[in-house]
Structure formats: structure tokens, C-alpha cells
């Protein structure tokens, strides 16, 4: 489908051309580069210029398009000005499951480029909001061949619709000293365990899993995933006294920039030694972030499991809340598989259409959700006990009905 004209004969795009100016790299230049060889990229340029003129989008959603045997991984997209721009009349997106931590070799990257140049617009997003490699724009007949060539190259499609969305993770142990569990391996293992739930949407709505290996939460799991797995530790922060002294000598005010900013004021500095009341440390990471040579997470490492994070649609945004305060790193996979099974069973039974797990928990209440998945309530689950007296007491022994 490639147009081999050297001269792309690009449409006139005076508004978009403005966005080739300025120091930040320009997406318009990227579309124009693809338009040299791709008719669809050329029409995309034309349609986008029209949107800039009219201040209006021109895409239509939907249509069941995909690859054989999968119910997800492809986003159907149609132009509402297809007569004017026939090469983007059908302009579907493939979501390709990215490697954990978004690590590539140059050869892996080139193999994706070669496939996509043959079968689509040559435009990508590296990466989409959920984490996938986004291959932006092709026609229905190209979907299956693209998919199979990607599979030959070792890549599979990601999630879309009411499925398990492509799990994602931070770099974890690959390049971070703060990793409290092996986020890349866990993310990979979970992804492999639930291939069916990713490719054949079984749920009331989307379900996202994100693995951050420490409370800095570099993949925003608390805000952007239904199941947030955030690394933490149970024992004492590891302190290298000599490096603390070196940091102080280097101009860091340990009192002002470390102790005074500790959320529980659990640290004391006498000018010689840093003392930490570890029982009152909430593992926020601030002191460790400030002194990465001197301080490190403890050795008894694992993760806190949280539930229900999401963006606003439909009832408003939610941050995930604590479900299990600590699971040891060695037990994470087994614990999560059992937990996920129970959560999905409950959601399948009680969730409404297009109701995320977090909204289900809001609707039925966390206590009923805990009953449903068989977890005991613990005080770590709340910022405070309830402050209203309207308690739904369960049936009392000896009560008459």
C-alpha cells in the first residue's frame, strides 16, 4: 500500500506548518515524514489540518474490527470526511503489547518498523497511555497480516474494550536500586497468565493492572489501575552513616530537607547521626529519594496491594485504596492470582455494564466487597474509621425474623 512517489505532494497545511517551528520536536514533521511513502499519512495530514481549521475532530468510533479469534487489540476508527480523505476512511489502530519496562534492542524496533511500513501508515505512538506500542492507522484487510507478522517477530496484541488491559510496570530491578520486588517479571508473568482475558473481553468493563516497584509509583498505578501493586518494605531503612555524613558535608541540610519533610517526623539528626523511628515510617520514599547513596529501602521487601484506581468516567476519578497492606515479594504471584480470581468472580457477579471495580466497591461498600472476596477487614484499609453512626449491622444471634 506504500506510495513510492518521492514527492509526497502533501496537502497545503498552513496551520499545522506553524507547529514545525519552535525547539520541541514536532509531531507534524513526523506525519510529513511518513507522508513521503504513505498515502494514509498524507490524508491524515489533510484531515488534521481540517480539524485545526474547523476546531473539530473528524473521527468516528466503533465498528467490530479485529483479528481472527481476538475480541480486542484493535481500535476501529473511521473518518467522517472519508470522501475527502479516502485513504483514512478506515484508519484502525493496533495495540501491541510492549516489552516490560519498554526495553528494546535496535533490531526489535526495526522489525516493528518494517512490518508497520508494509501494512500501515508508518506512524506510531511510543507509547500509548496504558503502555502499548500503538500502530496508528490501517485498513481492515491489513489487520490480520500485520498481526501474524508481528507474531512471527515475537509480538502479540494488547488489550482493548472490556478486557484485561495490557499490564505495565516500571523498570524495577532492571535499573533501579529501590525496586522492592521484581516488577518486570511479575508484570510479564501476570500478562502471560491472563492471555485469554486480554484477548477475549470477558468483563463488565476494562481492568488495568500496574506494577510499581516502590512507593514513588513511576507508572502511576495508584491513579491509573484497578489493581495497583506498589513495592514497599517492612523492616528498617538501610542507613550508611558515612554517606549520610558525606551528604551533610556536601551541603544538604539533613534537618531541613530530610527530617522536617518526613510526613511522620520519624527522623532525628543531631549533627552526627541520623536516627530513624522505623515503626512510624510510612515508607513515603522522600528521605531515600534525597539521599540515594546514604539510605535504601529495607531488606524485607514486598508490595502493598490496592484496588479501584481510575480516571473519571463514569462516576468520578478514584485513587486505589489498600486491600492487602503487605505481601512478601516471594509470595506475590501466587497471592495475586488467587486475589484476582476472587475479584473477577465478584465483579462478574455484581458489576453493572461499564462499571469499573472501583465504582463497584463504592456502590456496594468496601465491607461487602471484602465479604465477597473473602478478606478480613484491617485498619490499614482506611484513613480513619467511619464517622457516621448509620451502621448496617448483620443479623444478630437469636434475633426474631
Amino acid at each position: 500500500m506504500a506510495n513510492t512517489d518521492d514527492d509526497c505532494q502533501c496537502p497545503r497545511t498552513p496551520l499545522l506548518d506553524e507547529l514545525e517551528n519552535g525547539p520541541w520536536p514536532s509531531f507534524v514533521k513526523e506525519i510529513k515524514a511518513s507522508a513521503q511513502t504513505s498515502k494514509s499519512a498524507k490524508d491524515l495530514l489533510g484531515q488534521l489540518e481540517l480539524s485545526y481549521e474547523e476546531k473539530k475532530g473528524h473521527w468516528k468510533h466503533g465498528g467490530l474490527v479485529g483479528v481472527l479469534g481476538y475480541g480486542g487489540g484493535v481500535i476501529g476508527r473511521y473518518s467522517d470526511v472519508g470522501e475527502q480523505f479516502p485513504n483514512v476512511a478506515h484508519f484502525h489502530t493496533l495495540r501491541v503489547n510492549h516489552p516490560a519496562g519498554w526495553f528494546y534492542t535496535s533490531d526489535a524496533l526495526r522489525s516493528i518498523c518494517d512490518i508497520w511500513e508494509r501494512h500501515g501508515s508508518g506512524l506510531t505512538n511510543m507509547h500509548g497511555s496504558t503502555g502499548d506500542i500503538i500502530l496508528l492507522g490501517t485498513t481492515t484487510p491489513e489487520l490480520e497480516p500485520t498481526f501474524q507478522e508481528l507474531a512471527q517477530a515475537g509480538f502479540d496484541l494488547g488489550g482493548s474494550g472490556s478486557s484485561l488491559r495490557t499490564p505495565s510496570c516500571c523498570v524495577g530491578m532492571a535499573r533501579c536500586e529501590w525496586a522492592c520486588y521484581d516488577a518486570m517479571k511479575l508484570c510479564y508473568d501476570l500478562t502471560m497468565a491472563y492471555q485469554d482475558e486480554m484477548h477475549r473481553p470477558p468483563f463488565p468493563y476494562k481492568f488495568k493492572i500496574k506494577c510499581s516497584a516502590c512507593p514513588n509509583d513511576c507508572v502511576a498505578s495508584i491513579a491509573r489501575s484497578d489493581l495497583s501493586i506498589i513495592g514497599t518494605w517492612r523492616d528498617d531503612i538501610q542507613v550508611d552513616d558515612a554517606e549520610v555524613t558525606a551528604a551533610a558535608d556536601g551541603g544538604l541540610s539533613i534537618q531541613k530537607h530530610v527530617c522536617d519533610l518526613c510526613p511522620t517526623r520519624c527522623m532525628e539528626w543531631d549533627g552526627q547521626k541520623l536516627a530513624i523511628d522505623n515503626r512510624n515510617c510510612v515508607r513515603c520514599m522522600h528521605c531515600i529519594n534525597v539521599m540515594p547513596k546514604a539510605l535504601a529501602p529495607g531488606k524485607d521487601r514486598g508490595a502493598v496491594i490496592m484496588i479501584g484506581g481510575k480516571a473519571p468516567i463514569m462516576q468520578g476519578a478514584l485513587l486505589s485504596s489498600v486491600l492487602i497492606p503487605f505481601v512478601a515479594a516471594s509470595e506475590l504471584m501466587e497471592t495475586l492470582q488467587e486475589l484476582i480470581r476472587r475479584i473477577w468472580d465478584f465483579w462478574d457477579e455484581y458489576g453493572n455494564n461499564r462499571e469499573r471495580v472501583g465504582e463497584l466497591v463504592q456502590r456496594v461498600g468496601l465491607p461487602a466487597f471484602l465479604d465477597g472476596i473473602g478478606l478480613e477487614p484491617v485498619p490499614e484499609m482506611v484513613s480513619a474509621p467511619r464517622d457516621n453512626p448509620y451502621i448496617y449491622f448483620q443479623a444478630q444471634k437469636g434475633a426474631k425474623s
Partner: protein, 359 residues
């Protein structure tokens, strides 16, 4: 008869360690500490004493295969072909020879991919598809990102802010871009209810699903010309676009009434204070492509006022919590309006319920 190759499905992504640099593989889980060598450059040191150097550069996220091949060529030239991308659309090259850092930085900068985005800088903007590829967008995302990053470019290549500043852009209320927990967020908004296309509804939509899709119950069943259809109670619509996603016969795009809102003070990290949502700073700015001057001016204003007033390590939201919202509005000059006061589902949670007032 030729035999078709066997169809491959459900193989999942490449194994998590397939594309890792040999130094990373050798020291996996054995990192000791890291140092920030210069803006955009990290050095991670392993227990073994091995070092891996990271050079980070900004990208527009929307990348052609030509540019990806350029990245691949750079990776071959400087670091054995090993590279990665960050959760904020930066590209990172992973080097084991420090002498190659400077030549790589120079080549990236010459190609127009600025090195930076680390530590107390403004990193690249997380964003959505906008007019490039989304059905419900009220604005473009890539264009807004380009304009804002052009304006705060020096904040990307330098690390001179009190703390990191994370910016996000989402082109509608779906907020596919983590807008709800960003230091500064730009959000496309619609301001008119969907326009029911009664002839189209019959052909392409399932009416009960459409009615159920509305979070506020604003979509009511109706019989139009003897056929099942819907009406919209305009006062109840908060323009989320959920109906349009399930039914294309409910378009919302409107050139004059669509625009942008600005949000501030959200964060995801647990450092010091708990993660928190972004809060409304400006309810509406005009949709003014190709350069969106009003939006750019507002973002630059927030960044400048924050940079001048926040204490070291304070994120935007932590700074505002310390000085109070009245002072934030005074310092920025943004008008406080009735729209800033929540009247949706959990409204009361943000009302001031103490006599703690700054004068």
C-alpha cells in the same frame, strides 16, 4: 497446494529480559545507588561496581518509523543497540561507556531531540490522541503539547525547579492521560449536551445501553416518529461524552463551545504527602489552534509563580497546600468563579470546614 504458515496467537509480549543490556542483565536486582550526572543523564551503580549510563531525550510520542529507525541507528552507534522508552514518552539510551555520553547528547540535540527531563525538570508531557485519532476529543493533544513544551523548553533541559513538575494533556473528560493526578493538567472540555441524531440512532445504537451509559441519568427514553429514541435533559448533562462512545448518534463536537480547562496540584508519588487529585485552576479557555496562546500563557504563569514561591522539594500541590488556595489565585491572577466549587457527586469533600483562614 502450498501450506499456509501456522497461525500464531496468545504468545504474549517478548519475555521481560529479552532486550536487556548485558550490564543490566548481569546486575539485575543488584543496583546500589544512582547519580544525576547532568540534566538528562543518570548513572546507576551496581553492587559489583558496574555502571550503566542513561541518556534521556524528549520525543513527540507520535513517531514515524523513519524516526524510530534513527533512534535504532543511534543506539547501534553509541550503545550496542540498547534503548528504552519512559512512561512519559521520552527515549533513553543505555550506555556502558561514559566517553560516548557527550557525542550522543550532541547528536540528539542536533537532530532536534533535546536531552533532559530528569530530576527537578519538567519532563515530557503525558497525553492523549486528540484530533489525530480520537472520536471524542474536544481539542488536539499533540498540538497543545508541542506549544507548551516549546514554551517551557528550558525547564526540560535544566533542573532548576523546586521539585519535579509533571504535566499532562487529555483531550476530553475520559482523561486517558492521567490528568487527574498531575502537577499541571490541560483538559479538553465540551460545554454543550450531545445532539441526538434521531435517524441514525435507529440504525447504529442500542437504546437501553445508551440510556445506561449516562452517569447522571440525563438520557431518557423517548418515542420519536413511533420509533424508540432518546431525549437529553440538558441541565443534567455534564458533557462527559460517555454516550457518544457507546452511540455515534450522540455527537458533541462544537467548534465554539469546546475548549480547555487547567488543573493543578495533583501527584502520584507517595513522597512526603499522599497522592492527590489535580484541582481546577481555570474552568475554560478558548480552543485556539494552532498555537493555543491562552493555554500556553496560563501554564507558563503557573510554572513561573511556582518556581518563584515554592520551597525546595515542594511539588505544586504541596506548595499550594502550604500557602492556601486564596493565595494561589492571587499570585496567578486567575479568577475564582462558581465553577471552582464542586457540585457533583462528592461535592462537600472540598468545602472548607474549619475556621482556618489566612488573611
Amino acid at each position: 497446494m502450498s501450506t499456509a504458515p501456522k497461525r500464531i496467537t496468545d504468545i504474549g509480549p517478548p519475555r521481560y529480559d529479552k532486550y536487556l543490556h548485558p550490564v543490566i542483565l548481569k546486575n539485575y536486582g543488584q543496583w546500589k545507588f544512582h547519580e544525576n550526572i547532568s540534566p538528562g543523564v543518570y548513572c546507576h551503580v551496581a553492587e559489583s561496581g558496574d555502571r550503566i549510563y542513561t541518556v534521556r531525550a524528549g520525543s513527540p510520542r507520535l513517531l514515524s518509523v523513519q524516526t524510530l529507525r534513527t533512534f535504532a541507528d543511534l543506539a547501534d552507534k553509541y550503545c550496542g543497540g540498547y534503548l528504552r522508552f519512559t512512561s512519559r514518552n521520552n527515549v533513553e539510551f543505555l550506555l556502558d561507556e561514559p566517553c560516548k555520553i557527550e557525542p550522543l547528547k550532541q547528536e540528539l540535540n542536533a537532530l532536534g531531540f533535546p536531552v533532559g527531563g530528569t530530576n527537578n525538570a519538567i519532563s515530557n508531557i503525558v497525553h492523549t490522541q486528540g484530533w489525530v485519532h480520537c472520536h471524542s476529543s474536544a481539542t488536539d493533544a499533540s498540538g497543545l503539547v508541542k506549544c507548551v513544551m516549546d514554551a517551557v523548553y528550558e525547564r526540560f533541559t535544566h533542573e532548576d525547579l523546586p521539585a519535579k513538575v509533571r504535566i499532562a494533556v487529555a483531550c476530553c473528560l475520559n482523561m486517558c492521560g492521567a490528568v487527574h493526578c498531575s502537577d499541571i493538567a490541560i483538559l479538553g472540555v465540551h460545554r454543550l449536551p450531545p445532539k441526538v441524531q434521531k435517524d441514525m440512532i435507529r440504525r447504529v445504537c442500542e437504546v437501553p445501553t445508551l440510556i445506561a451509559s449516562c452517569p447522571t441519568g440525563a438520557i431518557r427514553p423517548a418515542t420519536v416518529d413511533g420509533k424508540p429514541s432518546v431525549t437529553v435533559v440538558d441541565d443534567q448533562c455534564m458533557y462527559c461524552g460517555n454516550c457518544y462512545t457507546v452511540c455515534p448518534a450522540m455527537p458533541m463536537n462544537d467548534a465554539e463551545n469546546d475548549g480547555l480547562s487547567i488543573w493543578v496540584g495533583g501527584k502520584v508519588s507517595n513522597a512526603r504527602t499522599a497522592p492527590k487529585f489535580s484541582k481546577l485552576a481555570i474552568p475554560f479557555l478558548p480552543n485556539n489552534p494552532p498555537r493555543w496562546p491562552e493555554v500556553v500563557e496560563a501554564v507558563v504563569k503557573i510554572v513561573d509563580v511556582y518556581a518563584a514561591n515554592a520551597r525546595r522539594y515542594e511539588r505544586v500541590g504541596e506548595w499550594i497546600d502550604r500557602i492556601g488556595w486564596p493565595r494561589f489565585f492571587k499570585l496567578t491572577g486567575f479568577e475564582f468563579t462558581r465553577y471552582h466549587i464542586d457540585d457533583f457527586k462528592h461535592a462537600g469533600l472540598t468545602y472548607a470546614r474549619s475556621a482556618h483562614v489566612r488573611y
